[in-house]
Every structure is written in C-alpha cells, then in structure tokens.
Amino acid sequence: MAGQSKIKRYRRLVQAAVFMMMFIIPALNILEIYFIKGTFYSIDVGNAVAADPIAVFQAAMSSKSVNIYMALSVVIPILLMLFAGRVWCSWMCPYHFIVEGVSFVKRKLGMKKSFPVHTPEKKRRTETARLIILVCFIALAGVAGIPLLNLISAPGIISSQALVLVKFHYVTFELVFIIALIIAEFVFFPFFWCRLFCPTGTFLSLFKSERGMHLKRVSSSCSMCGSCKRACPMGLDPVTDGSSLLCHNCGDCIDVCPDNKKQETLRFISGRQHNFPS
C-alpha cells in the first residue's frame, strides 16, 4: 500500500460512476432499455434486485408480512455489507459524495473543521445515539403504519429527484430537504447526518461483521502520529476503532498513514487475524 491516496482515487471513480448512473438509468429507460431500472430505494440489474434493507424492513413491518420479493431484494445488499462492511456509504451513496464536496469547500474557505474531539467516550456516545435514533425512527414509522423513513432517506431522495428531473423535467419538494441537509452540513459538525441520523446508513451498519472487511492496525509498531484520526470523516480513531459500526470503510485513514509507506501498518482485512496490542 505504497501509493498515497490510492484508495481515494478508486473511491472517487466509483462514486462518480454511481452519481452518473442516477441520471443515465432514467435516460436509458426513456429509450425503452429496461435492463437496469430503479432508484436507490430499490434497483434492479437484469434479474438481480437490490433494495434498501430499511425500506423493505419497514414495508414488512407495516404490512406485517414478508413475501418472496422482499426477501430476495435484500439479499445482495446484506451480503455486500457482511463481506465488505458499510461500503455503500463511502463508496456509492450520492449524499456522501456531495457532503465530501461540502467538506472540501469548507476546507477551501478556511472554515474550521470542528470535528468533535476523538475521545473513546464521545465515540461511544455517538454509537449509542445513532442506534437510539434509529429505533425511535422505526417506532415512528410503526405508528404511522407506512414506510415513513423513505421520506428522509437521502440517497433515495437524491436518486428519485434525478429520475423525475430526467424523465419529467421537474423536481419536487423533497429536494428542499436535501438542500436543508447540505446547508446544515456547513453549520454543524461534518457528516452529522451520516454519523447520527441517516436510517439507511445506521441500518446497513448493523450488518457489518468482524468476519467481513474491516480496518485493522496490522503492525506492532505505529508512530502514533494521529494523521488517521484527523482524516477520519466519522470521527473515529482508526487505530482502535476499525470494527466500529460507524466506520464505513472509506480508507481515508489508510491513505494518509505515513507508516504505511515503510511497512504495512493500517489496512483492510477480513476475518479475525493479526491481533496486535494497540
């Protein structure tokens, strides 16, 4: 892992491709090519379907039934999370792509980064808070009796706005919600939505497993420079928090780690190998 920013380069490529796809898919559908169709609530490629697990979970919850179509549509996303961790968020989600743009602009404008301080205490509180928020949201959806959380699913809204824009040439009011979130990203701490509130992201992270891809310090020595800590968009300490549900495997920490140039120090692994005292 010698080349700096190597992972980021691939990640940007994937993100940009996914972002473009949001506009290309409806355009293809207008041309009556239905090989791939849908939004980030649910998409199908050929005969393979993938749906946002929290969306399907809510549908199952409010209708009190599970049918074969629902069950099949969550297989791919859940497998992906089990094997690769919460990669949807950092590698594909259009909202995350936009917010990374926001933090870039903030940096250019010289605005303070204002990350919450990385203390294990703060981290634990964030981790608990987001689970509690998810449970509250789900309870709310349960009371309403409809898949309510889809109305605040940032990736779903963005992609369906792209769809209406391409297909019907207008946008709907939901865009205001996204714009409000983006403005809030300027004001609050970075990635506040993804860290605490997003139902999609929190629910997906529940399927993250120790056996799947996650971050690990694999060398016994580490210069403890703290570069990775400063780079982490989720406010984690990568040296110790690699298997935190918050970590979405973006790899920014691996890219900045100076020790990686000399010897593999921080990297993605699967399974429970390489246990070093940290």
Binding site: I146, S160, T172
Partner: protein
Amino acid sequence: MSLREKVKNHLNKNPFKGYFRRNRLRPPGAVMEEKFMELCIRCARCIEVCPYESVKRADLFDRLQIGTPYVYADERACYLCMLCPSVCPTGALDPNLKEPEKVRMGIAYIEQDKCLNYLYVKDENAGGTQGFAMICSTCYNTCPYTDEAIKMEQFLLPVITDKCTGCGICVEKCPTDPKSISIIPAGMGNEDLAGLYYQRSRKNFKKAGDAEGYSGDDAIKKKMSIDASGSKPEFKFDYETTDKIDGWTE
C-alpha cells in the same frame, strides 16, 4: 351520523392509508390502498418502466403519499402494457398479474348531465334536435374492451359494465371539459367514512351551483353558441396532419 361515530371514524382511520381522489389511480395490479401504502417503498421502478409516462410520482401536496406512483387518468391513462406489475420489489403491485383484462384499477363513471351523447339523446327526446347537438362516442371507440367494458344502450348511450379495467383511456380521450367520464379508484369509500382528511376537504368542495364547468343546460347553451356561419371554432389536431399521402394523388 352521530358525534360519537364521527369521532370514532376520525380516530380509527389512518389518514395516510385511505386517501382517494377521482382519476388518480394506482398502477395496475396494485393491492388494496391500505396495504399498498404499507408496502410501497417509493422506489419508482414502476415509474421508470412505464413506456407511456403514465405512472407519475405523487408530489408533496398528496400528503405522505409523496413518491408513491399514481396514474392520473385525465392526463395520461394506462395503456395496459403490463410492464409495471412485474418490477415491484415488495409486491405492492402483484408481479403475477399478466393479463390486462384482469386489471381493476377502478371503474369508470359517466356523468350523464355532461356526456355529449346523453345530452344529445336528452335534446332529441325534448322534441327533436335543432342541429346543435353532437354525438361523441369517443369513450366507446377508444376503450380497449369495446362492447365488453363499455356498451352502447339504444346505440347511443355509453354504459360501463363490471368488465371495466379502470385504465382511464376513455377519460383521457373524452373531449368535454370537465370530463364527462371519470374513474373511481378501486377502494374509494363512502365520503362519510373516509376520515379526517375527507371531512376537511369536503368543506372546500364547491356547491353544485357554484361549481365551474357546465351543468347539462349550460352545456347545451354552449353548444348552441357554436355557429357554423360565423367564425370557425378553434380546433387543433394533437397529431401531425398531412395533406399528401405517398403514392396517392388527389
């Protein structure tokens, strides 16, 4: 209805699940509205797949139905190509539905005091037409199930049968404004039982007399005002017309 019953209806009815409007239909194969609102995850796959842009996304003003699919029959009907039911990931649209004649999105309803054919017959029965009345029959001619879903009584009066799929093609094509035929969506209930929202919107309904559009007598008056000897009434084809056809000479 007693006060107690009213309160009961308001509280027992989930306002998000029983919201109907004329000519606003769920795509073919949709399960009952209540179940539909529970199942639809607003993924828009049915919207993407419709080749006629018949399926649209509900906007904010449709309350929490934002993002769910609707066919607005008066704008663009469903042409029963049966592409959309099979793409739904949650079964909100029945993926096994393949036969268009089994679709029941709603049922057409003809308002006899607006329909040109009914007006014509009324006019004639009133003592012979004076050359103003028009025979339309558009709905009968455009229905994909002519003589099954829609029949002609006395050769002139269109009547809907229970074979009607609710596709709304007749509504889209009906030339009167407001439409003389509309689709009552499947599951649309009695307005007295329709809960909080309906009660509120009912207050905003105009009384029959103040309503815009034409009641039967107005329609006849309007038709009588069209005078062939005067200026031509404006008429635009909504398709390209051609004066010359290849291989044919006048």
